[in-house]
């Protein structure tokens, strides 16, 4: 599903080594927390996964795409194979919840029929059926993040990448979001979530890849944030 082989990432503008010689594999259907303090390189890892950044060296395989040698034309198709969730939700403020999800489906060329069938399904998966015609500003932060989750699910990607999805939310709401991610994972979707929320990672007992100073310092099944385990 995902494989990093000896991946390095150096930001040229300030010569920062964000990741050095990172290698790991994620199998289909796994739920992985990528943890680490800010500046550790976990955000860079998420950006490499989303193709927001490209590796300086090394090989990255995602969903049968050789990311390290991807042509410009293939990028959209790589991105269609994953759903992405951000810390800042990235919803369009001038469109309703329904339209936000519809938009994500339209841009990949889904038909009106498909859109009409799919949106109620994903809205119910995140428990927002009642709010379909509300605007983002009328929703709480947790609800907005659920909309962006629904949007990530809309095109049925085999992989969901969430970059600090709970950072702007209160603990209770954050828990809800990860519960939804877990239920999505239960249905077979691979989930990778970058976070620094200790309590959440400790509560869910999933695979944890810990990054510090650009290196993987720990990778364990059913792990915790800190390495007592």
């Amino acid at each position: 599903m995902i494989e990093f082989v000896d991946v390095c990432k150096t930001y040229e503008d300030n010569d920062t080594v964000a990741l050095s010689h990172v290698s790991f594999k994620v199998q289909k259907g796994e739920f992985v927390f990528v943890v680490g303090p800010s500046g550790s390189g976990k955000s860079t890892l998420a950006k490499l996964l989303m193709y927001e950044q490209t590796p300086t060296s090394g090989k990255i395989y995602i969903n049968d795409y050789k990311v390290h040698e991807l042509t410009k034309q293939e990028v959209p198709y790589l991105r269609r194979s994953m759903g992405v969730v951000f810390q800042d939700f990235r919803l369009l403020p001038d469109r309703t919840i329904y339209e936000n999800i519809q938009f994500a489906m339209q841009v990949v060329g889904a038909s009106t029929r498909e859109i009409r069938r799919r949106i109620p399904t994903v809205l119910s998966a995140v428990g927002l059926t009642q709010k379909a015609h509300a605007y983002p500003r009328q929703l709480s932060g947790g609800e907005q993040q659920r909309v962006s989750l629904a949007r990530a699910l809309a095109n049925k990607p085999p992989l969901i990448i969430a970059d600090e999805p709970t950072a702007n939310l209160n603990p209770a709401t954050a828990l809800e979001i990860v519960e939804i991610l877990e239920s999505i994972n239960d249905r077979g979707t691979t989930v990778i979530m970058a976070t620094h929320a200790k309590d959440i990672v400790n509560k869910f007992r999933k695979r944890v890849i810990a990054i510090d100073d650009g290196r993987i310092v720990r990778d364990c099944e059913k792990g915790c944030y800190d390495d007592e385990d």
Binding site: R79, V84, S111, N155
Partner: protein, 312 residues
């Protein structure tokens, strides 16, 4: 090489153009035109201005051409025959004049013809000319029409060499003036058109740049969801084209109203020296020129912005 690259671009652009997408592109483009109302208006206004000035030059150019054609058609060279030449020799001279390749027709006007013409011109006072019957002061001449007015000078020389020709009337100066004006208007309007098109292109490019900026969130989301580059570009290109077409339609309406008003004003002067092109004969030319140019300006303008500001 260039053609190959162009082909690839066109193919990629066109494959994105499915019917379901097209609806989305056009709807998005229109929404954006309205959303950036002020900038759209400014762009439309500049397109209108450019096309109006272009239209003005076109109208003047066409009519100068048209009038000079009329003048040219009327322009004839008068070849006066030497008085000493007996009438029997006239067929010989006629033959020689007609043999010149640039001569389209030569009409013989005998002394008697000339006198008769004067008589009709004098009408009731024709009796004043009565005494001239036996002592005709007019000279035999030819009205020579030319095929190509630009070679009038050489033809005049050739005509003068014919034995029996006393004088060749020269209208060269007038003809030169007509030719100069026509050519001046032609080249002038081409340059003004080029200049104004460039200005419009840059103003539209700026509008689209602002539209891209206004929708940067949307574009960012589109990229992460997996929209292809062309899917992101098309609405902006269509937006540019919409601005171009609206501009060209407005300019067309204004120029039509103006042209008809001018025609009416001129016809009320009752000039029978020449006529202007009728509106019916020019409106399709204006319409096609404007719409093609408007569309091109819009497409090129947004295309420019795409390259610079939409790093997708």
């Amino acid at each position: 090489m260039m053609m190959g690259v162009l082909c690839v671009i066109v193919r990629k652009a066109v494959t994105t153009m499915r019917i379901s997408n097209l609806k989305y592109f056009i709807a998005t483009a229109f929404r954006s035109v309205f959303k950036n109302g002020l900038m759209s208006m400014v762009s439309i206004f500049t397109v209108v201005c450019c096309l109006l000035i272009l239209g003005l030059f076109l109208a003047v150019g066409i009519n100068v051409n048209y009038i000079s054609d009329q003048v040219r058609a009327d322009a004839e060279i008068k070849v006066i025959v030497d008085n000493q030449i007996p009438d029997e020799n006239l067929p010989y001279i006629t033959k020689q004049i007609k043999a010149i390749s640039n001569v389209s027709s030569a009409t013989l006007v005998t002394k008697t013809d000339a006198l008769n013409y004067m008589k009709t011109a004098f009408a009731e006072d024709a009796s004043a000319l009565d005494g001239l019957q036996n002592d005709n002061p007019f000279r035999t001449s030819y009205k020579v029409k030319l095929r190509d007015i630009t070679h009038a000078a050489e033809t005049t020389k050739t005509l003068a060499k014919i034995h029996g020709v006393a004088e060749v009337g020269n209208k060269q100066e007038l003809l030169d003036k007509i030719i100069n004006i026509t050519n001046g208007v032609k080249t002038g309007s081409v340059w003004i058109m080029v200049l104004l098109s460039i200005i419009s292109v840059f103003i539209i490019a700026n509008t689209i740049k602002l539209a891209v900026y206004a929708r940067r969130r949307e574009i960012n989301i589109m990229k992460f969801v997996g929209a292809t580059d062309w899917f992101i570009r098309w609405p902006f290109i269509i937006e540019g084209i919409i601005i171009g077409i609206i501009g060209s339609l407005v300019a067309f309406i204004i120029i039509s109203v103006g042209y008809i008003a001018c025609l009416n004003a001129v016809s009320s002067l009752k000039l029978d020296l020449f006529t202007f092109k009728s509106y019916q004969s020019v409106f399709s030319m204006f319409m096609t020129t404007f719409i093609i140019l408007g569309t091109l300006i819009g497409a090129i303008g947004s295309g420019l912005s795409m390259r610079k500001y939409l790093e997708v």
